[in-house]
């Protein structure tokens, strides 16, 4: 479904000298969605985002927003706004002045500026700290100010480059809930770069997995996690074993692998190489006769009822129906 308000990347390419950072990617982002851009380090996520924002020139291709090619416009004219890793709040300005910065640049008068900034600070629940300097804020507070600053330009698309990476895991989980809530309230498209797959699954309406400068797979979290197109996606998204089955590479969910107790029929036999406790489950890693590693996720109660130790041999079983064929 195409709407006039969507963001489209057309044959978008970025080269640095001879290295290709982004290689001819095409994608349409639907409006008002929360998109997570996911992939290993160096795959071109930041470069893509920065091209959309206008902080990196486009080597080839175009970026269409609302029907016009914005790829040659200055950042502020694009209808996008960016939230930077570690936020890049201006250290010499108060929270309020940071937020009202773009209005000041436009020449808006002081009273209007202050009023509008306070409205946005209210939105992110930071109005009470409007007079603080950024250095006096905690990581989470800084993030909210950065958000308010990005939103004051009334962008159609908000671009976030690893906004949570500087936070500790506890805080990270709380802040991502706030991001999601804000996206829903404002109805703006968020494009959020991360390399945490749990983060992407939890947040996104659409997950875009990049690898080696191209988009490997895009879709809803459930599509991408549930039906990985390639071995890379299956491994990268986690929770899957990739094994050869009938001469074919297939993905097999780790929670679909059962340990065949006693006389139960086993699909393969394998020797246990590692046990990893995960709280409510235990990951049992074992090596099959083919030399492939297979992880079985076992509920903790079941595991501790019949503990397994590394070195033991056991039978693994799964339903044929749970095997998912991968593209070569």
């Amino acid at each position: 479904m195409r709407t006039p308000n969507d963001l489209e990347l057309v044959h978008l390419t970025k080269r640095y000298g001879t290295t290709v950072a982004v290689n001819d990617i095409n994608h349409v982002f639907a409006p008002s969605t929360y998109v997570c851009l996911l992939g290993p380090s160096g795959c071109g996520k930041s470069t893509t985002l920065r091209m959309i924002a206008g902080h990196e020139t486009v080597s080839e291709g175009g970026i269409i927003l609302n029907g016009t090619d914005i790829s040659r416009l200055p950042p502020a004219a694009r209808g996008t706004a960016m939230m930077f890793q570690s936020y890049a709040l201006f250290p010499h300005l108060t929270v309020r002045d940071n937020v009202s910065f773009s209005l000041k640049m436009k020449g808006v008068d002081k009273a209007t500026r202050a009023e509008k900034a306070m409205k946005l600070l209210d939105l992110v629940a930071m109005a009470h700290l409007a007079e603080r300097m950024p250095a006096q804020l905690s990581g989470g507070q800084q993030q909210r100010v950065a958000l308010a600053r990005a939103l004051i330009t009334e962008p159609r698309v908000l671009l976030l480059d690893e906004p949570l990476s500087a936070l500790d895991p506890f805080l990270r989980i709380r802040m991502r809930a706030e991001l999601k809530k804000l996206q829903r309230e404002t109805g703006i498209t968020f494009i959020h770069v991360t390399h945490g797959q749990d983060e992407a699954l939890a947040l996104a309406d659409e997950v875009v997995v990049m690898n080696n400068s191209v988009i490997e797979q895009a879709g809803t979290p459930r599509e991408v996690w549930g039906s990985p197109r390639t071995e890379f996606v299956a491994r990268f998204m986690g929770g899957h074993n990739v094994v050869t089955f009938g001469g074919q590479r297939v993905a097999l969910r780790q929670d679909a692998v059962r340990i065949a107790a006693g006389g139960q029929p086993a699909t393969v036999t394998a020797s246990v190489t590692g046990i990893e406790y995960q709280g409510d489950r235990v990951a049992v890693t074992s090596r099959t006769e083919l030399g492939e590693e297979v992880v079985a996720l076992v509920p903790d109660a079941a595991f501790f009822a019949q503990p397994i130790n590394p070195g033991e041999t056991l039978g693994l079983a799964w339903d044929e129906g749970r095997v998912h064929r991968l593209e070569a």
Partner: protein, 278 residues
């Protein structure tokens, strides 16, 4: 507080000795500037008085200290202003990796390492051969810039090597024009080192002797004046001048620290709970 190691005390002693060594002449000057009216440039003290400070403000037998001081001061301010503006601009320029930036950079380094008397000689020769009037505000000004600019540039390199580019991107993202980015973001953030460059530029100019020697034209700057004064009976007036200069430097540095402290205060205003979670 952590207990201090033995080496700390040794080094503290060394540092104290070093400071003593640094200040030795300054202190000698300070003491001798209070010579009695009959005293000379050397020990022993012949009485104690503020005679020479009064004498400093009266007319000298030779030369015109205050005229020279005014010129040096104005020249210092000129050099300071141009050094700040040009080196900040150049600092910004060098981040753009323009063609020939390497050549310009090494030229600046060369400018720094070329013995100053050569610059003096060369500038003097050029102005002579070109029939240009040699004047402290033209030739000496230029000659001094060849020394203060590379200095300023090096400091700017140090500053911009540590400058987070994302501030600029954020500003551009927020709709700031190139000039607005410089004016509202870059300059305020780099203000303390820029003030440092200004101070440094001023004092390098204020005390520059060799580069001014052949380029100052009809009228002397202060260092030349002091040197000229030594061609006649010199008296502790020049020590009085030295003492005042030192006090003046102290005052400038105090002002500088005050400004930096005030900036810091503004940033700290309102208390802090940084580090605490949300």
């Amino acid at each position: 507080m952590e207990p201090r190691s033995k080496s700390f005390w040794w080094l503290t002693a060394f540092f104290a000795l070093f400071v003593l060594f640094l200040y030795g002449p300054t202190v000698t000057i300070g003491i001798l500037s209070f010579q009695g009216p009959d005293g000379g440039l050397t020990f022993p003290m012949r009485g104690v008085s503020t005679h020479w400070f009064h004498a400093l403000f009266a007319q000298q037998a030779v030369g015109d200290i205050w005229g020279a001081w005014r010129r040096s001061f104005v020249l210092g301010l000129m050099v300071m202003a141009v050094t700040v503006v040009v080196s900040v601009m150049a600092g910004l320029a060098f981040r753009k990796h323009f063609v020939g930036s390497g050549v310009l950079f090494y030229l600046a380094i060369a400018s720094l390492v070329i013995p100053s008397i050569l610059v003096s000689l060369g500038v003097g020769l050029i102005f002579n051969e070109g029939g240009l009037p040699i004047h402290w505000a033209t030739s000496a000004f230029g000659a001094q810039l060849t020394w203060t600019l590379p200095f300023g540039l090096l400091v700017m390199f140090a500053v911009f090597n540590r400058f987070d580019k994302r501030y600029e991107e954020a500003a551009r993202d927020q709709g700031a024009s190139a000039w607005q980015t410089v004016r509202h973001v870059i300059l305020p953030i780099i203000a303390p080192p820029v003030i440092g460059v200004a101070l440094f530029g001023f004092s390098l100019s204020y005390d520059e002797f060799a580069r001014t020697l052949l380029t100052s034209g009809s009228y002397n700057t202060l260092p030349l004046e002091i040197f000229g004064m030594t061609t006649n009976v010199t008296n502790p007036v020049i020590y009085a001048l030295g003492t005042l200069t030192t006090l003046f430097s102290f005052a400038i540095i105090a002002v500088f620290l005050g400004v930096v402290w005030a900036l810091g205060l503004r940033r700290r205003r309102g208390g802090s709970d940084a580090g605490k979670s949300v």
